[in-house]
Structures are given as structure tokens and as C-alpha cells.
């Protein structure tokens, strides 16, 4: 087991290196650089010397290979340098926003679990009834309705019926939980609904499979309550694929809320991502892509470990 963990952790390195390489060169292929964009925004005419001076300051005049190795050497020590746009340390810029993004991801995941597991199980138990159809339409709807549009509709409802808008500034949950939830509950619902769809469908299909197993028939035959059969025998054995879907969705949520944050005006990782990419803020974009990719790869690893814990038959070597 220990060897397996070490092997998996080491295998992350080449993948992350590949991600770093890819994003580094992709960004530099993109037309326009941060210096041009900075001056274009200021509206003044900039002589070429001034642009070059600024590039030199940011280290953009050096050969690409050298730039890459300086950056990757820093990244390996978790030193991502400063944002090219604001000049602030990247770790600090990300840390400010990570609290919001993480909380939103946790809340959205909770919403999706609370919706998905009971609904999916119910649909499986009542297969082909109107309940099953209703759940399926509800969940396919979740995949179809863009969460950013759902967000717009939610805000609009509040505006029209209650003349109320969710607060625009972020307050930490620990200082003022009410203000915090008033802001984050709605995006969490909009996103959670969308992400529940996949999990609901997965729950339905795995519970359906498990219900046909011999041990479920045995459990029923020995006269157990249907509730015990469903919860203890069926659902528990159906958990693995459900856990996978929910775990992967959580990993996506950390960096993937790009559009929803825009709608609800949340200053999170997704917003930072769009800003940094439109500003051609190379260092910031690179750090964010690495963070998101790391979250995803690490989550995959955690899920595999969780498998072994949930299912004693699985052994890793």
C-alpha cells in the first residue's frame, strides 16, 4: 500500500510537467503580450523602448527555454513568483480567492449529493414509473440548463419579487455566516443542480445493477425491511461509482466555475482565471492552470485510495 501511494505520487510529476510545458508554450503562442495590453489600456502612445524596458523587467526578453526553466524551478519549490499584471505575489492573490472558491465547491458538491443520492435511488427503485421519468427529466434538465443562465434567472426572481440582490462583497463564513450564505447559497444551488445531474444518473444506473444481485435477493428473502435492504445492502454497494463522479466533479468545481462566478460577480479562482488570461498575465495563468490540474490529478488519486477503503476486496500494490 505504501509503495503504491509513493508510486502514484511520483507519477503525478510527469503529468504536471506536461501540463506546465503545454500551458507555458500555448500562452506564448497567443498574439499580444502583457506589456502591449498594459499600454493599450492606458491609452497613451508608448515608444518601443518603453515596451522593451518593461519586457526586460518582467524577464520576457530572455530566451523561451531559459524563461521556462526559471519558472519551473520556482514552481517545483512552490514559488510561483509575482503576478505580471498586479505585481503582487501569486500565492497571495490565489489565497485570497481560494477561500471563496473552495467554500462554493464544497457547498455545490453537498447540494448535488443531497439531490443525487436520494433521487437516483428512488428512480432506480421505481424504474419505468412516472417517478423514474420525472427524475430523469429533472436530471437531464440539469445538464441542459446552463448554470450561468440559471444564475441570471435566480437573481432576476429576487430582484422582481423581493427587490433584493445577493451581496456583492465576500465575507468569510467565520466572521458573518449569514452574509456569507446570502451570497454563496444561490450560486451553490445553481451549480449544484447542474452537477447533481451526472451523479443522479450514475446513482440510478448503479443501484439498478446492484438491485439485481443475489445478495439483495437473499436480504429480501430473509425478510429484512425494504429500507434496510436498500440502504445497507444496495446503496452501500453502489457507492463506488457514485463517489467517483462526485469526487471528480468536486475537482472540476475548484477551477471550473469560470462562468458562474462571472454571473454572480464572485471574485474567485474562475474570475481570476479569465482576468489573467485576457491580460496575458503569463505567470498567473500558468500557476492557476497548474493548480487546477493538480487538484484534478490529486482528486483522482484520493478516489483510488477511497476505493480501497470502501471496498476491502480492492488491494493496491
Amino acid at each position: 500500500m505504501r509503495q503504491y501511494v509513493i508510486k502514484r505520487l511520483l507519477l503525478m510529476i510527469p503529468t504536471l510537467f506536461g501540463v506546465a510545458l503545454l500551458v507555458f508554450f500555448l500562452l506564448r503562442v497567443a498574439p499580444g503580450d502583457i506589456v502591449e495590453l498594459k499600454y493599450a489600456g492606458s491609452g497613451t502612445f508608448a515608444p518601443k523602448e518603453a515596451l522593451d524596458r518593461e519586457r526586460k523587467q518582467l524577464g520576457l526578453d530572455k530566451p523561451l527555454a531559459q524563461q521556462f526553466f526559471v519558472w519551473i524551478a520556482g514552481a517545483a519549490r512552490f514559488d510561483f513568483g509575482n503576478s505580471m499584471w498586479t505585481g503582487q505575489p501569486i500565492a497571495k492573490e490565489i489565497a485570497i480567492r481560494l477561500e471563496l472558491s473552495l467554500q462554493l465547491a464544497v457547498m455545490a458538491t453537498l447540494v448535488s449529493m443531497v439531490l443525487a443520492i436520494p433521487l437516483g435511488t428512488l428512480a432506480a427503485l421505481k424504474q419505468d414509473s412516472w417517478i423514474d421519468y420525472a427524475v430523469r427529466i429533472f436530471s437531464i434538465g440539469g445538464l441542459a440548463v446552463p448554470s450561468f443562465w440559471l444564475g441570471i434567472v435566480i437573481i432576476l426572481m429576487f430582484l422582481i419579487f423581493f427587490k433584493w440582490m445577493p451581496p456583492l462583497t465576500f465575507t468569510s463564513f467565520w466572521t458573518d455566516p449569514r452574509a456569507n450564505l446570502a451570497q454563496l447559497l444561490w450560486p451553490a444551488l445553481a451549480v449544484g443542480y447542474r452537477y447533481s445531474a451526472m451523479a443522479t444518473r450514475m446513482t440510478r444506473s448503479t443501484v439498478l445493477e446492484v438491485l439485481r444481485e443475489d445478495y439483495v435477493r437473499t436480504a429480501r428473502a430473509k425478510g429484512l425491511w425494504e429500507r434496510v435492504v436498500v440502504v445497507k445492502h444496495a446503496l452501500r454497494n453502489a457507492l463506488l461509482p457514485i463517489v467517483t463522479v462526485i469526487g471528480l466533479e468536486f475537482a472540476f468545481l475548484i477551477g471550473g466555475l469560470v462562468v458562474t462566478e462571472q454571473v454572480f460577480n464572485l471574485n474567485g479562482i474562475g474570475m481570476l482565471f479569465v482576468e489573467s488570461i485576457t491580460h496575458r498575465d503569463y505567470t498567473m495563468t500558468q500557476a492557476l492552470v497548474l493548480l487546477v490540474a493538480f487538484a484534478f490529478i490529486f482528486m483522482n488519486f484520493l478516489i483510488d485510495l477511497l476505493y480501497a477503503w470502501l471496498d476491502p476486496r480492492i488491494r493496491y500494490r
Binding site: T15, V153, L156, V258, A293
Partner: protein
């Protein structure tokens, strides 16, 4: 010709009868295709024409779905927007799934080091969230319909490759592949003639599953201002800027395009689901 047509019609009728939800999805998709093809006949106004005397008008007799902040007719823009959505949807789903299928089939066929190397490369692309990768690609290529199609199809490639590879792995051991090898067929011929036709079911399933995702991604990118650019009529674009700004005064600007996106993606998804149930119920998509 007529015989073929009536056979197809019979297949479609059986499909719709056995899976009513899928039938509804297919009907909506056909309606959308018709709306896109006939947009210039159906639209009451020019979707790009500004009319400053009719800005932010509520839905009524003259403008069935109202007008936007430039006085452009929302219904006309929706109809023309279906062109963009379908073009991007079909374009990127076809490119993404086809390249993915080709790569997945080659991986399964060649195996060994080639397989391992390509798998690692695919892992790298997979570890980017869909929208993040699309954002980076659009930033590199610039906006515009063609580039949006590329940006959306790239993240689909590894996902399609994964599914097709696992289906094709079993084919590698089949006798007909071995027979073709003995007969002296080249690698390319075996992949294109013997392997790819046999992974048609997962290919079609992926294709329909990606159609909905592509429409949604295009809308998201356009909404962020990184997809299709104004003044082209696109649903995501119609939700951007003024639609949010004037949401309280002119809610129709935000409501109808969102409904169009939802309906389109819903139709693609239910159709794709039913197709999967009909072709290969065991297949799990990543």
C-alpha cells in the same frame, strides 16, 4: 431510393415508439435544423439591424419575443443563433469524436510504447477542465466561429479516444484482424476497414453526447466574450452584457436565449441517451 427512405422511416418510427423521450429529442433537433436552414425565410427582421426607435421593447405583435438594447429583434436573433449553435455543435463534435476515435483505435491497435505515450499525452489534456482548456485555446487562436470549433473539439479528443480505445482493445484480438494481417493488409487499412467500422456504436454515442456539451460550451465561451464575437447572432452572446444589465427592465432579453440553449442541449441529451440505450446500454462515458 424510395425503399431506402421508407426503411429509414420505419427505423425512426420504431425508435420513437420504443423510446418516447428520445423521439421527442429527435423531433426538437429536426425542428432546430429546419429553423437554422430556413432562418432567412422565417425571421421577421434582419438579426443584425439596429433599430434605435424600438429599443428594449416588450414582446408584442410587432416583435413576438421583444427587442434588445440595440432594437434588434430577439426572435430573429434566436433563429439565426441556431445556425451558430448547430454549426459549432456539429463541427466540434464531429472533429473531436473523429480525431479521438482515430487516436483511440490506433492506440488499441498498436499497443505497447505508442499506446503508453499517447495515453500520457491524453492524461495531460484530460487534467484541464473543459472550459479552462477551451479558454486557453481561444486566447491563443483568437475568437471567431472556426476557432471556437477548434477550441471545443480539442478537449473532446482524449475523452473520445478513451472510450473508443477500450472498445477497440477487444477487436485487436479478433480473428478477422489477424486474418487481415496474414493477408498482408497494411496497418492503416486494418484500422480504417476493420477496426473503425466496428466501433461505430460508441462513436455515434459519443458524438451525440458531445453535441449537447458543445452547444453549451459555445454558449459559455460566447457569454464570457471569448467565443463568437458581436454582431453575429449567437445564443450565449445574447445573454452577455446588456441582457444582464437590463435584466430587470427587459427580462425577455435574458430569458429566451437561455431557454433556447436549454431546449437544444436537452434535446441532444435525451436523444443521445436513448441512442445509447438502443446501441450499447453498458457503455459509460467519462
Amino acid at each position: 431510393m424510395r425503399a431506402i427512405f421508407s426503411r429509414w422511416l420505419a427505423v425512426a418510427r420504431d425508435f420513437a415508439r420504443a423510446r418516447p423521450l428520445g423521439g421527442v429529442g429527435a423531433a426538437v433537433i429536426l425542428l432546430m435544423i429546419a429553423a437554422a436552414l430556413l432562418a432567412n425565410f422565417l425571421s421577421p427582421y434582419d438579426p443584425l439591424e439596429n433599430d434605435y426607435s424600438a429599443m428594449l421593447q416588450a414582446p408584442g405583435a410587432r416583435h413576438w419575443l421583444g427587442t434588445d438594447s440595440f432594437g434588434r429583434d430577439v426572435l430573429s436573433r434566436l433563429l439565426y443563433g441556431s445556425r451558430t449553435a448547430l454549426w459549432v455543435g456539429f463541427g466540434s463534435a464531429l472533429i473531436g469524436t473523429s480525431l479521438g476515435a482515430l487516436i483511440g483505435a490506433s492506440c488499441a491497435y498498436f499497443g505497447g510504447k505508442v499506446d503508453l505515450l499517447i495515453q500520457r499525452l491524453m492524461d495531460i489534456v484530460l487534467s484541464f477542465p473543459l472550459i479552462v482548456l477551451a479558454l486557453v485555446v481561444v486566447a491563443v487562436l483568437g475568437s471567431g466561429v472556426g476557432n471556437v470549433i477548434l477550441a471545443i473539439s480539442i478537449p473532446m479528443i482524449p475523452r473520445a479516444a478513451l472510450v473508443v480505445r477500450s472498445s477497440a482493445l477487444a477487436l485487436r484480438q479478433m480473428l478477422f484482424v489477424e486474418a487481415a494481417l496474414v493477408l498482408g493488409s497494411g496497418h492503416w487499412r486494418i484500422i480504417s476497414r476493420h477496426i473503425l467500422p466496428n466501433v461505430m456504436a460508441p462513436y455515434l454515442i459519443m458524438l451525440t453526447a458531445f453535441l449537447g456539451q458543445a452547444v453549451l460550451l459555445e454558449a459559455s465561451l460566447s457569454f464570457l466574450g471569448l467565443g463568437v464575437a458581436e454582431p453575429v447572432a449567437a445564443w450565449g452572446l445574447m445573454l452577455r452584457g446588456a441582457a444582464v444589465e437590463f435584466a430587470e427592465r427587459a427580462p425577455w432579453m435574458a430569458l429566451f436565449p437561455g431557454m433556447a440553449i436549454s431546449l437544444a442541449v436537452f434535446a441532444f441529451n435525451v436523444f443521445g441517451d436513448s441512442l445509447r440505450d438502443a446501441l450499447d446500454p453498458k457503455l459509460r462515458l467519462p
